[in-house]
Amino acid sequence: MLQPEVRQRLSEIVGAEYFRDDTETRVSYSYDATPMLQSLPDGVVFPGSTAEVSAILALANEHRIPIVGRGAGSNLCGGTVPDQGGLVLVMNRMNKLLEIDTENLTATVQPGLNTKAFHEAVEAKGLFYPPDPSSMVISTIGGNIMENSGGLRGLKYGTTKDYVLGLEAVLPNGDIIRTGGKLYKDVAGYDLTKLLVGSEGTLAIITEATMKLIPAPRYRRTMLAMYRDIHAAARTVSSIVGNRIIPVTLEFIDNPTLRVVEAYNKIGLPTDMEAILLIEQDGTEESVVLKDMEAIQRICREEGAAEVKFAKNDEEAAQLMKARRSALSTIARIRPTTILEDATVPRSKIAEMVLAINAIAKKYEIEICTFGHAGDGNLHPTVATDARNAEEIHRVEQAFEEIFEAAIQLGGTITGEHGVGTVKAPYLEWKVGESGIRLLKAVKQAFDPNNIMNPGKMFAKESRKRVVVQR
């Protein structure tokens, strides 16, 4: 519960309309898109300016009140669930696109700007902002920056971190800092911009961002390659890149996913195939795009693809994309709870990772569908389950624990694009080691000595013991 004087001060800072602590509001900001997590905040604030954010943080710091920044609440790591109560800071009033600078090719935005709206505004000027997380219809740029979101175009264009040039951020004591700028080169001091990207609201609240834009590619071609042998599909991924071709999209769908999608949608997918690769290339010259696609087609056949389909037009491309697009929604329809993970390995280890996932699924008697961004080595092993079945959920958790371990053993990571939050916090040490954790905590301490910024996220009370994987 908030003290009366704190409630009074918050109402003064943002106006009575923009501070709420009624039950309905508290319930409706008690969750995000992460399954099985919910915790009520003590209050919800909707700041309208940097100055208001600064005043709120200074007040919260003085009274040691947890602060949970929130964009659209679409993350999958529990990053915006206020599990220690406190205040949820909803940033959607600060949602303006402040500027598109066509000379410097930058855009300056407020954090609450919707990602898709940003894409559309930028593309209307013939420019391009590549990061396209699947949640972009609702997600915000501020949320994307805090979680360092990925997407389908990461292989060729990188992820959010590659497009943040500068930030305005408010520290827990209310101080306002500016990092970077409309600068492609800037080595003045530690790179605070990159440090804040992906910090999951544990260090500061972003109030403005300067984003890098690039010229929009004009041509795009799509193809589908089908494999009876999962290793052949994996070899193709490495081989394409090894041939100095970087496709914009290189997506992978495994056999369990194919069967589930086909059973529910009846769109004529080849369920006898072990894996499908969905490949797209874009560019500013049509002839270059076509040349790349022809080379990719040849590589697919050489590596043993059973069949290759080339989309002749946009309509056919959309049809080919359908299998990948409907993967998650189909799995989500099977059973109430959908758990989607994002273990990531070096792309040369994709086949081993998929086989490890299948073996783990068998061991724990659960069905895991795996699809994802093969070009990035970023897979989404996904389980359809039911949160009400405690015994099954326990097996699912054990399986995922083994999947994290398998990813790390293959030189990979526990999370490629969803973030640590509370969900992966117990496993962070597996990836960064004991010294790594100490260092990360020291950074946190430097920014936030009173631990008010999204407490409980990133760092667990205690790390999980590593599971011993029998091989």
């Binding site: 009624d22 039950t23 309905e24 509001t25 319930v27 409706s28 900001y29 008690s30 969750y31 995000d32 898109a33 992460t34 399954p35 919910q38 009520l40 909707f46 659209a72 609440g73 679409s74 909803v90 959607n92 009033r93 919707n114 898709k116 949640s135 219809v137 609702i138 998650l328 929604s329 989500a332 329809r333 109430p336 709870t337 959908t338 039911d386 949160a387 009400r388």
Partner: protein, 449 residues
């Protein structure tokens, strides 16, 4: 606990009984519904979105939250446009959840006496009786034609009404005590050699009282494109207003009567020209799924046969005849038209493009798609009367998009949307520039030229 708080508690038990808990847990909280939700777009508040409302329902059932007036208001604020359903990856039946919740609230809702009286009069005393609806039409007609309306307007008597009701009074079409059957009879053979199919017209209460001409035009258009049309006289209100207002039992009773009426008429299709009615007719199988197997089977028979008039024409009608009919107008200057979706035609009947396809067949017509045409206009049954502020905010944004199209004719396929669009045009001062019409009336007007 105060007396005020305890009076809401019985709602919890009703919700536990009536709200489908499996469906509540099917929401995985991805939030993909939010861009499609008009009340979320207007307020930016999580609680005013489908994901938020489902979380609130679940919180009440789980005992995390006690229902109160603000919970009830949030459930009332939903337009019920169901634009969230087609975009939901997990296929959550939000429309059923909101209706079940409203039904549970209605069991115990502490309505003021006058509201209770009015609801009873409308839901139980008026809409189930077609004759009474027609009598109301006669009374309205008398008001409009006897000079009483002129007196009321000129003396400022109407100023006792809130602004949104005054606008509605101004745009209300001429009501009538004679419905479509009284005007043209109940059986109409197909024009041309052989009937494509025998269809039963669902005439609707508001349609038949305020838009009798549209019903007449619907019959004529259908016979011209090859259908034999019968209008079963035993049919009653579809029950949509009841279902959306938490009176599910009444809605079920009306559904049973309609199913019987159309089954006895031996029709191949049941055709509706009101998206709002059509959607509920289409869902009679869900509405009656827990009744006896025979009733449920009859409901399935009925639901399978329900089509919107544009949809039926495009799927089964003689399009060659239709093209001939509307080709005469081609020598005139082209007219620019746009179309506002009926949410329930799009999101529930899944035939949102059929009216556009019909418009596309007409010569001399430029179709200009309006930004946000797939988003609710704020009419939503009687929502605009109950929630005037939200409805007007949505409507005013809609009118900005109408202006952008430079359309001379704004088409709709549902009476509620039609009245709301007329009110919007009036509010925006566009009365001289934009005509608002039902798609069927527009086609008939082009054909007569």
């Amino acid at each position: 606990m105060s007396e005020k708080a305890t009076k809401w508690l019985p709602i919890v038990e009703s919700m536990k009984l009536k709200v489908d808990y499996d469906e509540l847990t099917n929401c995985m909280r991805c939030g993909f519904c939010q861009p499609s939700c008009p009340t979320f777009q207007e307020t930016g508040l999580e609680a005013a979105s489908p994901r938020g409302r489902i979380a609130l329902m679940k919180a009440v059932v789980d005992g995390l939250m006690e229902p109160n007036e603000s919970f009830q208001k949030q459930m009332d604020l939903c337009l019920g446009c169901r634009a969230c359903e087609p975009v939901c990856p997990a296929d959550v039946k939000y429309g059923s959840l909101i209706e079940q919740t409203r039904d549970a609230i209605e069991d115990h809702r502490p309505h003021p006496l006058w509201v209770r009286g009015l609801r009873k009069a409308a839901f139980k005393g008026l809409f189930p009786y077609p004759k009474r609806v027609r009598r109301l039409g006669s009374v309205l007609h008398l008001y409009q034609k006897s000079g009483l309306q002129t007196v009321a307007r000129e003396t400022g008597l109407l100023k006792v009404l809130p602004e949104h009701l005054r606008v509605m009074e101004r745009v209300m079409p001429e009501a009538s005590g004679d419905g479509v059957v009284e005007r043209i009879g109940s059986l109409h053979p197909a024009k041309g050699e052989r009937a494509v199919a025998r269809v039963g017209l669902f005439r609707g209460c508001i349609m038949d009282m305020m838009f009798t001409g549209t019903n007449v035009n619907t019959v004529e258009l259908l016979t011209e494109v090859g259908f034999e049309v019968v209008i079963p006289e035993a049919q009653v209100c579809c029950g949509a207003l009841h279902a959306h207002s938490g009176e599910l039992d009444d809605a079920r009773g009306l559904a049973a009567r309609n199913i019987k009426a159309f089954r006895e008429a031996g029709v191949d299709y049941i055709v509706s020209n009101a998206g709002g009615c059509g959607a509920l007719l289409k869902e009679y199988d869900h509405l009656l799924s827990s009744e006896s197997p025979e009733v449920a089977e009859d409901a399935r028979w009925f639901a399978e046969r329900v089509k919107d008039v544009s949809q039926l024409i495009m799927e089964k009608g003689n399009l060659h005849a239709l093209k001939q009919l509307v080709s005469k107008a081609s020598e005139e200057a082209a007219v620019t038209v746009t179309y506002q979706n009926s949410c329930h035609l799009r999101n529930v009947m899944k035939a949102g493009n059929a009216p556009r396809d019909v418009i596309g067949l007409m010569e001399g017509v430029n179709f200009c798609e309006m930004t946000g045409a797939d988003s609710c206009c704020g009419s939503a049954g009687i929502y605009n009367l109950l929630q005037p502020k939200m409805a007007n905010d949505i409507l005013d944004h809609k009118m900005e998009h109408v202006k952008e199209t430079n359309a001379q004719v704004l088409l709709t396929s549902n009476p509620g949307c039609l009245l709301q669009m007329k009110a919007g045009v009036e509010r925006a001062g566009l009365t001289d520039q934009v005509r608002v019409m039902h798609v069927v009336d527009f086609v008939r007007e082009r054909a007569k030229k």
